[in-house]
């Protein structure tokens, strides 16, 4: 089946992939093939028709808005008091980088991602998966059920649960008090830490599942021969286990980070980005600018930056997944 021309179905999303340039631009290259009856060509196009409904949806509600995002980000559109938006070039971006609140939310996003995704979910997930391999069945099942339950509970419910947990009169302070440790109003003094831990609570199950699957695929012989060679537990972990699951680690880190970058409901339910913007990560900042302050253009510029960061991570993720496509 070497004769494959650009299909009729719109190739929009395809053009976003790293291999862009493929569809759309490949009209008339039918080299050294016998001429075909027109009917053949039509069939060749027509059989790709089933792709159309999904592609139309994606173009209308995902690719289109992303393109619109690029346009809006360069205008000064506001929700109120303005007939039409005018083009302002890079004003929104220069403004963002000079905006203390924006810089603050970038830093908070980095802290949030580092603590909750990279250090928290990832490491804890790996630790739990490792322990599960050695633990007894009952304990393993119970722990798995609890951790996964935290993951399946809807985001907004998780937000409320962790809100009560970290509240001044909540459970955490009760426990600390019981242990004669100093208590404090976590949501006020360390809001970013509280929401980071909330995200760990909610997202660890995913890493745990990924790593459980990866660890169970390591052949026992490998671990055993390392043991025979006299490697201790730590050496086995660093020199055998981790290198063998490095692909899973990469994928998991990417997915965790992407998921963490777009967390909104959890933070909104717990702190609304406050107090005083001290837990205002980029999505919350974006929402605040676009709707509370009615600066759609500026909010979109922030959204665009978020999209670009997400896009970069996605490309890395694609490279990791490449073999599977």
């Amino acid at each position: 089946m070497s004769l494959t021309k650009a299909p009729t179905a719109p190739g929009g999303p395809g053009a976003d992939g790293p291999d862009s340039g493929g569809p759309g631009a490949t009209g008339p290259d039918v080299p050294a093939e016998r001429p075909r009856r027109p009917y053949d060509g039509v069939r060749r196009y027509a059989r790709w028709l089933p792709v159309a409904p999904g592609t139309v949806l994606l173009l209308l509600f995902l690719i289109g808005p992303i393109g619109y995002c690029f346009y809006l980000a360069f205008t000064d559109l506001q929700l109120t008091g303005q007939a039409s938006a005018s083009f302002v070039g890079f004003d929104n971006f220069t403004r963002a980088f000079g905006d203390e609140d924006f810089v603050n939310s970038v830093v908070l996003t980095l802290v949030f991602t580092l603590i909750s995704s990279i250090l928290g979910q990832n490491t804890l997930g790996l630790a739990l998966a490792g322990l599960m391999q050695r633990a007894s069945k009952t304990v393993r099942t119970i722990t798995g059920a609890i951790v996964i339950c935290a993951w399946v509970v809807p985001e907004i419910v998780a937000g409320f649960l962790l809100y009560t947990f970290f509240h001044r009169r909540g459970t955490l302070n009760e426990v600390l008090d019981f242990l004669h440790l100093p208590t404090q109003n976590w949501l006020f003094t360390l809001p970013i830490l509280a929401v980071s831990f909330a995200n760990i609570w909610r997202g660890t199950a995913f890493s745990m599942l990924v790593y459980s699957a990866a660890l169970s695929e390591i052949p026992d012989e490998v671990t055993e021969s390392a043991q025979i060679d006299g490697a201790n537990g730590w050496q086995r972990l660093v020199h055998v286990t981790l290198p063998m699951i490095r692909r899973s680690i990469g994928t998991n880190l990417m997915l965790n980070t992407l998921q963490t970058l777009s967390v909104f409901g959890l933070i909104w339910a717990m702190t609304r980005g406050g107090p005083g913007g001290r837990s205002e990560t980029l999505p919350v900042f974006m929402y605040d600018q676009a709707f509370n302050k009615a600066l759609i253009g500026y909010g979109t510029a922030v959204a665009l930056l978020l999209l670009v960061v997400g896009g970069l991570f996605s490309v890395v993720y694609l490279r990791l997944m490449r073999e599977e496509v």
Partner: protein, 318 residues
Amino acid sequence: MSDAPAPAPAPGPSGTSGPIGTGARTGLLPSPTAATTRTSRPPRLSRQRRQRVAADLGLLVAAGAFVVPLLWLVFASLDAEAKLKVSPPSSPTMENFSAVWTDEITFTPMLNSFLICGSGTLLTMVCAALAAYPLSRYRSRFGRPYLLGILFTTCLPITAVMVPIYSLFVQINLIDTMWGTSLFLATSQLPFAIWLMKNFMDGVPIVLEEAAWTDGASWFQALVRVIVPLMGPGVTVVTIYSFIMMWGNFFVPFMLLLDPEKLPASVSIYTFFGNYGVVVYGELAAFSILYSTPVLLLYILISRRMGGGFTLGGGVKG
């Protein structure tokens, strides 16, 4: 360590003492090794047991930390005077549940959720099944870039698209409509659904389809009557997964719906904080349980089929 010379990790005994992690090992090891390690059995055994106890303890500590907020949920829902901290109710009661068991608080939002997420899931699945078919069956220079594009959009932070989506919905008058919200939710799950469906469809041998063609079936009939039924478990997983994701989505309906009558449970839950002045935590907990139950049940339904390979595909995102 005194038993250092012991060369192998006690193949024989581990089966009898029954630690899970080593259970599979016993069968794999050649018997000669078993013979040589016989002498060092007792210390090995105890070390394995030590390891298992340590692992159990570690897991229990983690489980303890994770369970506390969930415990609050259960206790508070049964406690008429629920506070912010975890404490078992002195006299368990269903008062909270009966208080929220009304049209306004529970049924309308839940029905809205079902309508929005149900129709969204249906749309996602139909589009995904249709799109997956040519992607899985025909080879073309178009297929691979398309799939890579799909995978790429799978990862994009949907949250970031919400501002332009809002502007777009205002302009084309889709704002504050349930079907508009449903359309967008369907689209947001679509890339992942197409990706999974394509992979599941690859697993259905083409021979069966060819048999259907020979009997005069069109590609569509073959898809609906042969392929999709054969993908049964896979389709179930993708359907339920999409539904769970939409059910839990807070940001999309929060932005796109305004009328309180149209709000799904994920947003209406917020009114417990906003409108009623003093927060009645017991009722909030009771409603949270009612709202979470469908997805918990659905998850249990598919959990056995969700192996590592499935979760790897791009699982959770906002």
